[in-house]
Symmetry: C3
Subunit: 128 residues, 3 copies
């Protein structure tokens, strides 16, 4: 399935777990794998803590520190730091489905990672 | 299948290849994909060299250097560096199965990555 | 399917999207997932921009800066920096197939990442 998300900041990590859960339920597939795929090159997807939002804040600030905007980058759009972060977090993730539910850990959520917003973005899910 | 692993250090990379191979054999599936999934937010999974254990030592020390404990992190548990490393290594990996065997490279092993131990941890496998 | 690629530099990011597209077409599978797998421990696979080659240049130079060759590394082959980059980029990626085509974003390409070349390398595809 295809989903649209509107990001609000230059970089931002947004919880999309409920959307993935809804897709799994409406598929009526009880047992398999769901793949979440981000069709962008300055955005990605990751799994991390769903409880304390300070965790995603710390992830974003650390990524900014380790992979800053760099005047020596050649890419004329000036967003190579965002391309790098997208590759490091990854464009897809896979979660196991059992008894019709996502087999996530207690503290795990699935997050859309915006690294060059704000923009209108998409992500896809595929259940097998 | 579900597996339990007891980690012994604050950060540690543990070879779990044999467990994945056993799961593939006992599934009797000859052809497909096995997904390894880690249901934690301060641990992950990666593939790397299975021969010289100095490689995983170097990976751990480098990750400590690049993503250190940082007093500016907001998350009160003080383990944001571990959350970051988990997202960077990833929560899942997929390996091809052919003729009932994992289609790994000669030097490739599958590794559980502990970044906030010691703890009792889990990982799952799903074969499709 | 198995593919061979000859890399020409110590580190290099090579567009392999057309090969993956050919595998998907020749499989005649209209709907599913293709997994691309790199069976090496100093090479990986990622997805990123297919238009401006400066992007992959910037990714390579940034990875060199953040994860340099380090004399404190123990691994005697002296290529631990390449092992680290391989784990960070990852050994596999998954793309959705719909109507017999890869469901990639407009700017997305699939890239083989050489971090310790030049070498003759392999990558595998598996369609489910």
């Amino acid at each position: 399935m295809e989903h649209t998300i509107r990001t609000a900041k230059s970089d931002e990590i947004i919880n999309i777990t409920d959307t993935i859960k809804d897709d799994v339920r409406s598929s009526e597939i009880k047992d398999g794998i769901v793949t979440v795929f981000v069709p962008h090159t300055t955005a990605g997807v990751t799994m991390n803590e769903n409880a304390d939002t300070d965790v995603v804040y710390d992830i974003l600030t650390t990524l900014r520190k380790v992979f800053p905007k760099d005047p020596s980058h050649r890419h004329a759009e000036g967003n190579s730091h965002a391309h790098i972060k997208a590759s490091i977090m990854g464009s897809s993730c896979s979660v196991i489905i059992e008894n019709g539910e996502l087999k996530l850990g207690t503290w795990q959520g699935i997050y859309f990672c915006e690294f060059d917003g704000p923009r209108v973005r998409k992500f896809y899910t595929k259940i097998i």
